[in-house]
Assembly symmetry: C2
Homo-oligomer: 331 residues x 2
């Protein structure tokens, strides 16, 4: 009986992949073997096995991922901040007043100390100057141009090359198993959507993020347009993440991945549902291939969520130990 | 060559439907033949034909539908208002003060005149009393119970039977042609999501609507929960519809259907994009099988949008003329 089933399984696998002599390839080749990789594949096997007590119908296989520090790098500064700074430099000629006004002066002069001194108020001024007063289509175009031309200061590559290869594999693996993958990020929704479909395979309607108020109006030539206003609408961070998930997705994920305390409530919300649940954290432990930081970091601080992961047995990825490769461009 | 292709086409069609002697059935059997039905099938043929100048890749085939009056009936009152009134009656014993306080007194005594006199302020009080102060899960449960038990006053059937059969066929037809179908409604998002997947085949994450503020908190037993607060967050109506589409979907539909002036901006936004576009309006012209109303109506007023449809050659469904059946339960 077992032999017959094995034979049938072989035939099925053979026909499904449509190749001669092919074997089922590892769907997560950039993950080292070990408890972390096993926790992922075991979970997926449990929720997709027909008849299993943990079986979850496909329409409920919702997986949510933080972006900065989880799907792509967030150092030395959040990439959206790099975009904003580059945009200040790119449009400085149209704003001569910036040469004498903080925090713009600091950005133009690369005066990091003065920039830091401008604090949150300064940052909001930069966001207002670089993210608003344009239509959604103009902004989207600016983002696409930036991703095509800007370079990361350490790796000297487009920022969209700084996505984690193991996480790309994980996204594809989940989708191949009937999951719908979403980004749930503190980053700006209009900054993420223009490139995520191409880079992650995640369409705009599956990207949740922070947003500013947008206004419908009639533009030049009588054409309707959506204008980005200088008013914050929603911050998709911390307790805002389950709120954003509820608002945009309308059901609770069964699988969530983050990397910082800003993801804690998303992970709690995911883990607290009935049935099988997966909560994962990327721990940045690899200063050589990427960066190493956690409890003391200003960007991507991982402290409370690390404690809770330990207390609740969530999966913690040790980047150095668990990832064979970090980036696709590594030799 | 043509003969061989015809043969292959036949074999492929045969194997795809898996039946002997089957012919391609009409995907819109509840629509009468005519210019309106043809405008729909012609549009779908154009945007799905590989190599056609109007071809649209599947990921961009976004179709948005208003709900009240477009996918289901909105008379004699918006069904969400009926839900709210029923909920006031169902929870009146816990609120003895309602017996002497308007607008609750009017609802309990079915005093339509006094209810109308309470105006928008009264309505907001009713919404606050019936839609907030509960968790999202409690509210969802109340909606599901109501859809299972409440009956429409004229048709004496569950409200979810009052969906338009031709529109159900249209949703399925679009999906079969690679479209992703969304609801974009002025109705409350948490009121719609619990039943739309079952009734329309539209999952929660493809339902856009008005919303109240929701708060993440730790409930009894330490479990995280989302509490619905008595504060309006977003009104997905009129100019709010393109804003809601931008926020939730992040790209412009190529196909949209509405029935009232509240849908005008959604239709304008859809029609103003590049390439082939479809904008449709359901005109309620059938007092016998459903209701007849348009320019003078307080509910579902169709005035400016009807003029614009005429000026711009949008498709206007004359319910009486174009629909063979309105509801599935008709004899």
């Amino acid at each position: 009986m077992l032999t017959r089933r094995a034979l049938l399984t072989f035939i099925f696998a053979f026909s499904a992949i449509g190749g001669a002599g092919a074997q089922s390839p590892d769907p997560l080749p950039s993950w080292n073997e070990g408890a972390v990789k096993k926790s992922i594949t075991d979970f997926v096997a449990r929720v997709t096995a027909q008849g299993s007590a943990d079986f979850v119908p496909t329409e409920q296989r919702i997986a949510t991922f933080d972006n900065d520090g989880t799907l792509w790098c967030e150092r030395p500064v959040y990439f959206q901040a790099a975009f904003a700074f580059d945009r200040v430099r790119a449009t400085a000629l149209q704003h001569p007043e910036w040469r004498t006004t903080q925090p713009f002066k600091a950005i133009l002069e690369k005066d990091i100390k003065a920039l830091a001194a401008s604090g949150e108020k300064g940052l909001l001024q930069v966001v207002a100057a670089t993210h608003t007063g344009v239509t959604t289509e103009q902004f989207s175009k600016a983002v696409v141009e930036w991703t095509a031309t800007a370079r990361h200061p350490r790796f000297n590559r487009p920022y969209t090359d700084l996505v984690y290869q193991p996480m790309l594999e994980l996204l594809a693996y989940l989708r191949a198993n009937g999951f719908k993958t979403f980004v749930v990020s503190g980053g700006g929704i209009e900054f993420m959507r223009p490139w995520m479909e191409k880079v992650y395979g995640i369409p705009p309607e599956q990207v949740v993020g922070s947003s500013g108020v947008v206004k419908f109006q009639t533009g030049a030539g009588g054409k309707p347009e959506l204008m980005k206003l200088a008013k914050v609408e929603f911050i998709d961070d911390g307790p805002g993440k389950p709120v954003g998930i509820n608002r945009f997705i309308g059901r609770r994920p069964i699988f969530a991945f983050g990397n910082s305390d800003g993801d804690l409530q998303m992970l709690q919300w995911t883990a607290a549902g009935d049935g099988a649940r997966f909560a994962g954290i990327v721990h940045h432990t690899d200063a050589e291939r990427e960066y190493a930081y956690d409890r003391q970091s200003k960007i991507g601080k991982l402290d409370k969520a690390l404690d809770e992961a330990s207390a609740r047995n969530w999966t913690v990825v040790d980047m150095k130990r668990d990832w064979k490769r970090v980036f696709a461009f590594e030799p």
